[in-house]
């Protein structure tokens, strides 16, 4: 790298990109940073509500609710691995493998959404939890829980639509490696947010026995 920079025009004369990255990727990074702050604010809203209410409910039985959420985490984590493999395949110019890996990613994401929705349905229909009331007392539990997990699920669904568009484009010979990489950044971010929601919302409210 140092041997090349001596030949390349000086950075100070506009000869190089300050981040050595394209504008799409930098744009996605800026979006991710601002979206992280949105999720942080919601996690803090949940935490503050919980700290101010010592009788905060612990609605998740270890079996089946926590095991169910662990399977959801596994789906999302594995879909991140397949997404990184898609980026890897596209960097090597293998469009067919890229489409296959993106489809595998979408299966993981779709499994997550289906499991999450069935968990929501159980909470709403069987346990009687709504954003405004629940059988365990503190009404804020429902409001913060549905807002936080709902916003995350919306991100996963948007990600599935995004990946459908990218996969279709790749199969038709459109889009470049950087486009797959940018969609990968978004997908990993959605996975990353779940790495905080899962322990703070589910595991901290686990009920054993």
């Amino acid at each position: 790298m140092s041997s090349q920079s001596s030949v390349a025009p000086s950075l100070w004369e506009g000869g190089g990109s300050p981040y050595a990255t394209n504008s799409k990727k930098f744009g996605m990074w800026l979006f991710i940073i601002s979206d992280s702050l949105t999720f942080s604010a919601m996690l803090f809203a949940y935490t503050y509500s919980r700290v101010t209410n010592p009788d905060w409910p612990k609605p998740f039985d270890f079996s089946p609710a926590i095991i169910f959420a662990t399977v959801m985490t596994f789906c999302l984590l594995s879909s991140s691995l397949t997404m990184v493999m898609a980026v890897h395949a596209m960097n090597h110019g293998d469009r067919k493998a890229t489409v296959r890996w993106i489809l595998a990613t979408m299966v993981g994401g779709a499994a997550f959404v289906v499991l999450h929705l069935s968990e929501w349905m159980k909470l709403i229909n069987v346990e009687g939890v709504t954003p405004f009331k629940n059988p365990w007392g503190v009404p804020l539990f429902g409001g913060t829980f549905f807002a936080l997990t709902g916003l995350h699920m919306t991100h996963v669904i948007c990600g599935l639509i995004y990946l459908t568009i990218v996969a279709t484009g790749i199969a038709r010979g459109r889009f470049k490696a950087e486009d797959v990489e940018v969609s990968g950044l978004y997908w990993h971010f959605v996975d990353l947010v779940w790495m905080f929601i899962f322990p703070l919302v589910y595991l901290m409210s686990a009920r054993v026995g």
């Binding site: 300050p18 050595a20 940073i33 702050l37 990489e181």
Partner: protein, 105 residues
């Protein structure tokens, strides 16, 4: 120039990514085990947050390629993010006092 950028961004091999994935699964397993063992709340919260931050760092570094980007990208994005998140902790002291200020508790 574009070739040069492309070269910079190809970082990590399939083996590395699989190792990171296994590490993430193991850490998730430890978290679930902590929940099963019903560890005291404060220790549990510290352990979970610690593990989550390590997991997030692994995802950002390897899956999101930040380890293979220029340092300037990291320096532009992350110190500000961490600073803003830490700022959100400002009222936590007040939040912990509220339960003790309620009459009858």
């Amino acid at each position: 120039m574009s070739e040069h950028i492309e070269e910079l961004h190809v970082g990590g091999t399939a083996g590395t990514f699989a190792k990171v994935w296994i590490a993430l699964l193991v850490m998730t397993g430890i978290e679930v085990l902590l929940a099963y063992e019903q560890v005291p709340t404060l220790i549990m919260l510290t352990a979970l947050l610690g593990l989550s931050i390590i997991k997030a760092a692994l995802i950002v570094a390897y899956f999101m390629h930040l380890k293979f980007e220029k340092l300037s990208l990291f320096l532009t994005l992350f110190p500000m993010l961490i600073f803003c998140i830490v700022l959100m902790l400002i009222f936590l002291g007040d939040a912990t006092r509220i339960p003790h200020m309620r009459p009858g508790l």
